[in-house]
């Protein structure tokens, strides 16, 4: 039976982790490679880096981090943030990323998703959708951390990226992100019911129960979380044991 995945996410800026784990035993709390290794040794099913570096000059640093991490972590590695061109994807994959996550570039031009999945295969193309609730059971796609409206309906857009070859959808609720009050389960349910590719739930996790809701109530294939793992509040292992105790199948 296919297991539900738990994916810790690390935000990386100019080569340093900005929202990362704050374990006392860390030699260098800002070193993304060391943190990724802790997650992978702890049983993470995949690792996700979100590059929030503002300038293009510092992108090389991210590539370097990916290269170092890929030499030490032998679970899938997804990298997102600023992926805009075929060359960006080529660089990340050559450095050792297994998947890239495309956000704004997919909204601007869905053909880019098509081109990328044709060139590299759907298995490595994740489309990140940031959605905000606009009325009852209606969500709109936003970009730039929820600042820019796009006018696209989230469900329609999700279907569109699936048609264009996306292998997975990373779905973040902009209403819930950072609130620690749980995923937007209605949004998740709506998107998972209307698409046939795996959906990764993101945005809002504060407790282990929220992970359960994302999978069982929302229908997500994987759950992504950042802050609950950051401060050693919960370890990956705690999350897996909890889910397992509630009959959600995970890789133990």
């Amino acid at each position: 039976m296919l297991k539900n995945r738990i994916i810790p996410c690390l935000d990386v800026k100019n080569g340093r982790v900005v929202k990362g784990i704050n374990f006392v035993e860390l030699k260098d709390a800002g070193d993304p490679v060391e943190q990724a290794k802790i997650y992978s040794d702890g049983g993470a099913d995949e690792i996700c880096f979100l590059d929030i570096t503002a300038s293009n000059e510092n992108r090389e640093t991210t590539i370097d981090i990916v290269r170092k991490t890929a030499k030490e972590c032998f679970v899938p590695l997804t990298v997102g943030g600023g992926v805009r061109t075929i060359q960006n994807i080529t660089d990340l994959l050559l450095a050792g990323a297994d998947k890239v996550s495309i956000n704004t570039a997919a909204v601007k031009n869905v053909d880019f998703v098509k081109e990328a999945s044709k060139k590299f295969g759907s298995q490595c193309i994740v489309v990140a959708i940031d959605a905000k609730k606009v009325s009852d059971n209606k969500w709109e796609v936003f970009t730039h951390g929820g600042r820019n409206k796009t006018g696209f309906d989230a469900v329609e857009f999700a279907k569109k990226v699936e048609e264009n070859g996306a292998g997975e959808i990373l779905l973040t609720s902009m209403d819930k992100d950072g609130t620690k009050s749980g995923y937007d389960v209605d949004l998740l349910k709506t998107i998972t019911n209307n698409t046939n590719i795996p959906v990764i739930a993101s945005g809002g996790v504060g407790t282990l129960d929220h992970l359960y809701d994302g999978i069982v109530k929302g229908g997500a294939s994987a759950v992504l979380a950042a802050s609950i793992f950051h401060y050693g509040e919960y370890k990956i292992k705690d999350a897996k044991e909890y889910l397992n105790s509630k009959n959600v199948s995970v890789r133990l």
Binding site: M1, L2, K3, N4, R5, S40, D45, A70, K71, F74, V75, P76, L93, L94, A95, G96, A97, D98, F120, G121, S122, Q123, C124, G167, E168, N196, I197, P198, S221, A222, R251
Partner: protein, 208 residues
């Protein structure tokens, strides 16, 4: 020992290179190349594969003499070869991804889309799934039944002769996820992405 990872310019093979490099450290001389002379004289070959069946076959055919060299290595000389993901699928006679495409024909059978029961199962089949060992395979030494491996694919290899199947995994049906036939080994899952247990499979292959 010389082991070659065949780089035929199709898909992303960085992870394959990384994990084989990790396991081979100081023990095995690892080459990543499409140079047919080097392939000819290696002791073992790893044939990775990402993207579509058609794309991979087309890419193999684009390198002059490569398919003949692989045939000679695997079929005439019967030296050990490990196919990963589409690398395994290409062992088949025929594949149906994108367009009907002739495979290498090393293990009789076809590659078709997983029947996902009208959307009941999401495709691609992505993530960690348990393998059910069907027969003893040299690359499964010290690998427990029901071990978790990392999968990402939408197509499955259906061999005619079921005795080549060394493991299956359960996703809408029993999907063939590993084969062994004489010197030929193949995994549908990605040992290079399957954590320590995956590295063990790589180690088993290198130690053959």
């Amino acid at each position: 020992m010389n082991v070659t990872i065949v780089d035929y310019q199709s898909g992303n093979i960085s992870s394959v290179i990384n994990s084989f490099t990790e396991v081979a450290k100081g023990k095995v001389n690892l080459e990543v190349t499409s140079d047919i002379k080097k392939i000819k004289f290696s002791d073992k070959i790893v044939l990775p594969g990402q993207g579509s069946f058609k794309n991979c076959i087309d890419s193999l055919n684009q390198i002059k003499g490569l398919v003949d060299t692989l045939n000679e290595f695997a079929i005439t000389n019967k030296k050990p070869l490990l196919g990963i993901c589409v690398g395994l699928q290409m062992f088949a006679d025929i594949g149906y991804e994108e367009a009907e495409t002739k495979g290498l024909g090393w293990i009789s059978g076809k590659v078709s889309k997983i029947d996902n029961q009208q959307g009941k199962f999401k495709l691609p089949h992505i993530g960690w799934n348990e393998i059910e060992i069907q027969k003893k395979s040299k690359i499964f030494k010290d690998i427990k039944n029901k071990s978790h491996m990392y999968f990402v694919h939408s197509y499955e290899f259906i061999p005619k002769d079921k005795s080549v199947i060394s493991a299956t995994t359960d996703y809408s049906s029993k999907i063939v996820c590993s084969v062994e036939k004489d010197n030929l080994f193949g995994t549908q899952f990605h040992p290079e992405k399957s954590d320590k247990i995956g590295l063990k499979i790589i180690d088993n292959f290198l130690k053959l």
